[in-house]
Symmetry: C2
Subunit: 220 residues, 2 copies
């Protein structure tokens, strides 16, 4: 028995590039200038860490109110840019296959509702799906909280879980949760970056992973 | 005597992420859907190759008119998203230092005027600068044409030229031109991708390169 725990942005939906520009604009509106490539490498970690990073990078301090505004504006700008997130190759088919084979699965994302509603719709997961969000008590990646909460909701052992993600934060969080992890290239990281972060295999897309699930010991 | 030949987008100005979304939207308006991470890895090659790639990726054929429209829309969308491109760290200082030390230098880009006017202004190079564009007879990267034309205008030998770029296409083009090349991470490629493509050193930014120019045998 194995279970799969998926990241959302960049792994299941094509949203990383818009997130980069939405964060960059929201942060710039607060008077801080951060390069796109630096933000790219932070998307997928918790929003709080991204805003903290922007302060560190620029040597500037933001008030609680300014930070709150950045979060709100990031969400607004992202939804403006991507009103209808597009599923990445194989995402819909993956969930269809996992449901059919009754293989436990979940989505664990540092983002949160309602920002992710359209993305969940896009990959065709309904209200019955296990979705763990980065709001409330749970710390976003690279903390292991989200993956561990997903495991608990699925009722499986840590050793049975395989995390799937496009960002180095997914692999660090998985390692800290005691899970193995596999990478996908759809978030724009280089293959070696994901291996260095601890991915034991890197697939090009979820479609590629679906074709090779037996490499993870999952037999459809 | 050494000369430096720089790529522009992603190397000197922070424009790669906007180019990804501008290409994606322009291509989508023509009815073709291409993932962001795939376009990211094509930015920096010639626009013609990007449109050709989109057709290959989707198995669709475009008319000459549709292709022309994509190019036009890409330019319009990019200028809308980035009316004032921001220089990347060290870009302005690099050109100031090269001018002061009378070290031959040029910009060689697959893009073209007027699309690049604002970017050239942003890095503070004036009309006296050698700028080779990807229009007309010259083929864009990964063909070596642009780097070779820059060399010719500078009046230096191929063996004296060092190409600087953020994309694998810069390094392939440099290798084909017979030039050594160094990479920068500001275009969002992973470090290893640039080494694999032939960069003999990878710096984080142009600022980082400026600090270490002696590693290239260039003494300010």
């Amino acid at each position: 028995m194995h279970a799969l725990v998926f990241d959302l942005d960049g792994t299941l939906v094509d949203s990383v590039y818009a997130h980069v520009l939405a964060w960059q604009s929201a942060i710039e509106e607060a008077g801080l200038v951060v390069d796109g490539y630096r933000l790219h490498r932070h998307v997928g970690s918790s929003g709080n860490l991204i805003v903290r990073f922007a302060q560190r990078e620029t040597g500037r301090d933001l008030s609680a109110e300014q930070m709150e505004t950045i979060h709100r504006r990031h969400g607004e700008l992202f939804r403006q840019m991507v009103p209808n997130p597009r599923p990445l190759p194989g995402a819909i088919e993956m969930f269809r296959a996992l449901r059919a084979a009754r293989i436990p699965h979940a989505i664990a994302t540092a983002s949160y509702r309602p920002l992710i509603n359209a993305s969940l719709d896009a990959v065709g997961v309904g209200p019955e799906a296990v979705v763990v969000e980065g709001k409330g008590e749970l710390q976003g990646k690279p903390e292991p909280d989200l993956f561990l909460a997903a495991r608990k909701q699925l009722g499986v052992a840590v050793a049975e879980c395989i995390a799937v993600g496009d960002a180095v934060w997914d692999h660090v969080a998985a390692r800290r949760a005691g899970m193995v992890s596999v990478g996908v290239l759809t978030g724009g990281y280089g293959e070696e970056e994901l291996y260095h972060a601890g991915a034991f295999r890197v697939y090009r897309t979820i479609a590629d992973l679906l074709q090779n699930l037996d490499e993870l010991g999952i037999l459809l």
